[in-house]
Amino acid sequence: MTDAAAKVVEHENIGSGYRRIVFDAQELASALAPGQFVHVKVPALEESALRRPFSVFDAADGKVTVLYKTVGRGTAALNSASVGDTVCVLGPLGRGFPVSCDGSALLVGGGYGVAPLHFLARRLKEKGFDDMTVFIGGRTSDDLLAVERFRALGVDVRLATNDGSAGVKGLVTDPLDDVLASLRGSGKRFELFACGPDPMLKAVAMRATGTGMKGWISMDRHMICGVGACYACIQKTVRGNSRCCVEGPVFRAEDLVWE
């Protein structure tokens, strides 16, 4: 873990309130694994402000890319970071996804939750793993991020929107269930990898628990320290009150306790 002084090299709108920021951070980029996160000191906030955790969309060639949506004071302030600014980025933090899969890899994401799945897809691809499908869901087509990036990696992409503006009309679990049914029919093994809003994560976790197949669920929680010191970002698990920042953010589906 290092606290890198990273230069912002790109920062752009990607539509619908989502933004993409790229940091030049050589050491961090090579140390990060998919599903891990970074803890960012947002420059426009007061010096004493807490850091903000972000999952990583991509880490390659000395660059770390983050996708985010403006949801609060921290992300709103991050909007004003300009190319050339130096930002303190602490990482790599947390437990990520395994970069391996027994059977078909089914990636399920909603909103900016697709970010760590994209990084995972890239790393699986680099290891020569091809049997991947990503299911991306959102309220409207505007919430479906990185669709072309996944296609460029050669990943099979299935979309779902609540209003039917892209893909099937319904929940992301609808196309997922179709694929799960055919995999079960053929007796083929699979693993689920998910990141997104809690109700979606719970629905995905339920589809892994008790099936003998593995599910890897990335939880999004407000954090303070990011390193396991403060015990603020608790997720209930079979082991009790687990810290999302060090025991997660990626948990095994069967370990999660839903309230």
Binding site: M1, K41, A49, C230, Y231, A232, V246
Partner: protein, 311 residues
């Protein structure tokens, strides 16, 4: 060369800068994030006899000038702490700074038993980093325990003398800030046999989500820490120092060397960095070098000579 050593009631510290309980885990979590040689001590997160789950989520809210938390002292209990946590700290951190162990409990007997076990363990090689005990009598976030002991001088006296009877380690008592007059509490610690005081704990606080018309914290109330509480902490340290010869470990909104030096001038022997670590993990190193620079600039040969040097 400025002499940076200070003695906090028998605890020899190579520098006057410690970490505050609950903000630095058990030390090893920040491995790689700062230069540990700038720390005179690491204060471990509060520990009691048995495992404790802490409060429900949400456990914190960021506010202007600080942070309101109600973590609720989640911890593994003394057994796991001695068997796993302390040895792990010593293994991970080369030349590990001495550890002050923050303790709490639901009864006087529980405090005393935790103190006894810590004292016994501190004599073994595996737990040799344990060098002092900090009694938490002021956590605002647990109904049972802590808080009650810090708000009645007679009860506080009984607690401190019971723990004193079970430990030869330097005994620090962490006082509650929300009392009308700190002096009776200082006296209770003194008479009970404490070696030092630490102050201040967080200030009871509450944050409301006006849209949902609900408290933000699941615990309803919490404790305020951070920049905003610093002047209040300086005043309490100043008051306490005038009332006692016990050395003081001061904390509350230390974000830069200036904040720490204010504490020293007000009468503190050492300072602890707390909430600031969350925004900058290496802040303790910066505070330490800033104190040294101040001593050089003002002709202080030692950090200890800054204590109570207020004119």
């Amino acid at each position: 060369m400025v002499d940076t050593k200070v003695n906090l009631g028998g605890l020899e510290m190579a520098t006057p800068v410690a970490t505050a309980s609950g903000t630095f885990g058990y030390g090893f979590e920040y491995e790689g994030a700062l230069d540990f040689s700038s720390l005179g001590a690491v204060t471990a997160k509060g520990i009691r006899l048995d495992p404790w789950p802490g409060n429900a989520m949400p456990r914190h809210a960021e506010v202007p000038g600080g942070l309101v938390n109600a973590i609720g002292l989640q911890g593994t209990g003394i057994g796991h702490f001695l068997d796993v946590t302390v040895p792990h700290y010593m293994e991970r951190i080369p030349d590990a700074p001495p550890m002050i162990v923050n303790i709490w409990g639901g009864s006087v007997d529980e405090y005393a038993e935790v103190a006894r076990r810590l004292t016994e363990a501190s004599a073994t090689a595996e737990c040799a980093a344990i060098r002092a005990i900090e009694c938490n009598v002021s956590c605002p976030n647990v109904k049972e325990g802590g808080h009650t002991f810090g708000h009645d001088p007679a009860v506080l006296h009984r607690l401190v003398s019971s723990v004193r009877a079970k430990t030869t380690l330097p005994l620090i008592v962490k006082l509650a800030p929300n009392v009308p007059d700190i002096r009776p509490y200082v006296k209770a610690c003194e008479d009970g046999g404490a070696d030092a005081l630490s102050m201040i704990n967080t200030i009871p606080a509450m944050v409301i989500d006006i849209e949902r018309r609900r408290p933000v914290l699941a615990n309803v109330t919490g404790g305020l820490s951070g920049r905003g509480i610093h002047p209040a902490a300086v005043k309490l340290v100043y008051d306490a120092h005038k009332a006692t010869k016990l050395p003081i470990l001061a904390m509350g909104g230390v974000y830069e060397a200036k904040d720490a030096i204010e504490f020293l001038l007000a009468g503190a022997t050492a300072v602890a960095v707390g909430t600031a670590t969350f925004s900058d993990p290496s802040v303790a190193s910066k505070v330490f070098s800033g104190i040294v620079e101040y001593c050089e600039r003002h002709g202080f040969a030692s950090v200890s000579s800054v204590t109570a040097a207020l004119q």
